[in-house]
Amino acid sequence: MSATTLAELPVGSEAIVQAMPTGRSALTRLREMGIVPGTRVRVTRRAPLGEPIEISVRGSCLSMRNHEAAHIIISAVGA
């Protein structure tokens, strides 16, 4: 399976976070809110015009734009 990002994950699918670039302020905040490499994430929904997306992580729901999600590299669950 080729490297995909959270922005490409279809609604309803789960994945595991593989990597995130370091030293970016917005991504550091996402890490602090629980999205770190190794975390299981699920896309709950997309807003009607494609953005923002809603992610379910560690029991909480976070929304973000594709701009941030596109930096989060994911892999399939169990891969």
Partner: protein, 691 residues
Amino acid sequence: MSNVASDIPLIAIVGNPNSGKTTLFNLLTGLKQKVANYPGVTVEKKIGECYSQHGKKLRLIDLPGAYSLNARSPDEAVLRDVLLGRRPETPRPDRVVCVVDSANLERNLYLVSQVLELGLPAILVLNMVDVAEKREWRIDAAKLSELLGIPVIKTQAVTGRGLIELKLALSRDDLPATKWRSAVIPDGVRTALEQSRGPLCETGAIHAKASLLEPLYLLSGHDPTHYGIEDSQMGRVHELRRSIDGAFPGWEDELVSARYRSIEELCAEVLRRPDQEIETITTKLDRIFLHPVLGFVNLVFVFALLGYLIFSVAAAPMDWIDGWFGQLGAWVESLMPPGDLRDLIVNGVISGVGGVVIFLPQIVILFLFIGLMEDTGYMSRLAFIMDWLMSKVGLNGKSFLPFLSSYACAVPGVMAARTIESPKDRLVTILIAPLASCSARLPVYTLLIGLLFPAKPLTQGLLMMGLYALGTGAAFVFAWIFSKGIMKGDSSPMILEMPPYKRPSLKSILLLVWQRAKAFLVRAGSIILGISILIWAASTYPKTDTEDKSLQLANSFAGQAGHFIEPVIKPLGYDWKIGIGLIGSFAAREVFNTTLGVVYAVESGDDDNLDPLREKLAAERRADGRPVFTPLVCLSLLVFYVFAMQCISTIAIVRRETGTWKWPLVQLGYMTGTAYVLSLLIYQVGSALGY
């Protein structure tokens, strides 16, 4: 606070946003709390009192909600600075109550792990246990308490469950500090932080005795406020930060991951989750509220309901208040002999203050509504739905709440902008917030619309909606101009938590409404009262010999001021009497009605001052016999009020929020300039077309 107060233990309540922290604080302190602001920032400071289970007095401080001590916004910076003892006006708390959302344990424990490391005696409160239980999450509180070495208490703040246990824990004299260490700072980074201590001391950012955690949070911070550090020293701080970043790339992110690893280990021992996620009420509700079509339908319904409540339901209590002030005026008139003093009390004080207090029902409804939307969790959904629209003008969904609050009043709206991380987005939001038609414009709109279309309620309603739409549209246009064209800087990432829906805490909402209503009445009793008296005096003095009331008004200070600005406002279709109203309005918009009330009451003598103002205005004639308030003048005035920046309180809060006079002046200039140009266009084009 007196010296005695310092003997009473100060207990800080900390937690993530949406952890139910404030509900718990309200439950413990009730009306025994004071709301103020932290000097330098408009972050609300709430201090309250309660009694322990043993009858001992305790002081509680409700610190702003935050996700991390690594501060991003003024709110989060205040939490960090108070816990580190960096704010001179707020003593470092003696104890901490960490409130967490039980159904979101890992994420909430992140902040807790940072706070516990500071070494203050602590209690962990597992709040909203009912939500966790519904999801069949089993949390072993005893085990968690054993592993952390501090008391752990399950609560449900909305119902008061667990309150007695919490109070018992608060009463303990031997409250321990945790021994738990969640993340070890790598040696290299530790040394670098140690070495940064000396230079940081020189910049005045920290004291010599500061623990290692202070440079940690100051250097890893993305904090725009940098309280306690001179602007001129920020270069040094950034330099230190860059050198650590250069030597240990990604150290900050590594630390986050390490913390989460320890939290996961901890949770593996105390938390049992079902294999399959149980569908919650939140999931079901979001299918409706965030539905591509139903979500919008619901949004329209919510605002239609708000409009109905404000314009229709509020009418009856507003009439009562109007009636009471009318009766009060008549009663005072019957008691006192005619003269300046009676005139001052009846026409200055009673009609002036009454003209403002009448909006209390609308203010109460607005804040009740906003409080409900925030407390239930619906507000975040609005931000989610509105994000695409906000993104078109360079902002994001987080600017929506401050803007929405500004429809009640720009002052809390501007204050709500403090949750926006990017200084640029925050500034743009603050600059456009007063374009939302606040409740102070409502009386002016109502008066002028009534003049325009007497006895046509449907047309009146449509025009009213049009004015709100005009202000809203203008806000988006200016947001676009400011953020795309004029200002530089990064936009905030749109990272927003969608909290689970919950039953609102009526107590918390009523407390909020009470605090806002009180602030409104205090304002009416101070600023508005002062202005009313001033306007009355300015339109009464200096006294002339003439018996002609019109001549007397024309010669008064207010009349002279009105005449002075008449050349400027004449092209807009206004005469000098409207000019007096405009001058008064620059203190506060609602003063327009008051001023005209005072001006016309003064002019016509005081025997018929209780006649509706509208009839007086409709009967007002120019020297050539044409009415003053023609439809075109009313329209021109309405547009002027939509745009013009006329509110001393807003100017003051923007000055305090932005820390300079530059931005309130920019705001005053662009808003009032637009108002003038548009009103001029309307009147001149309309006149040329023969209206």
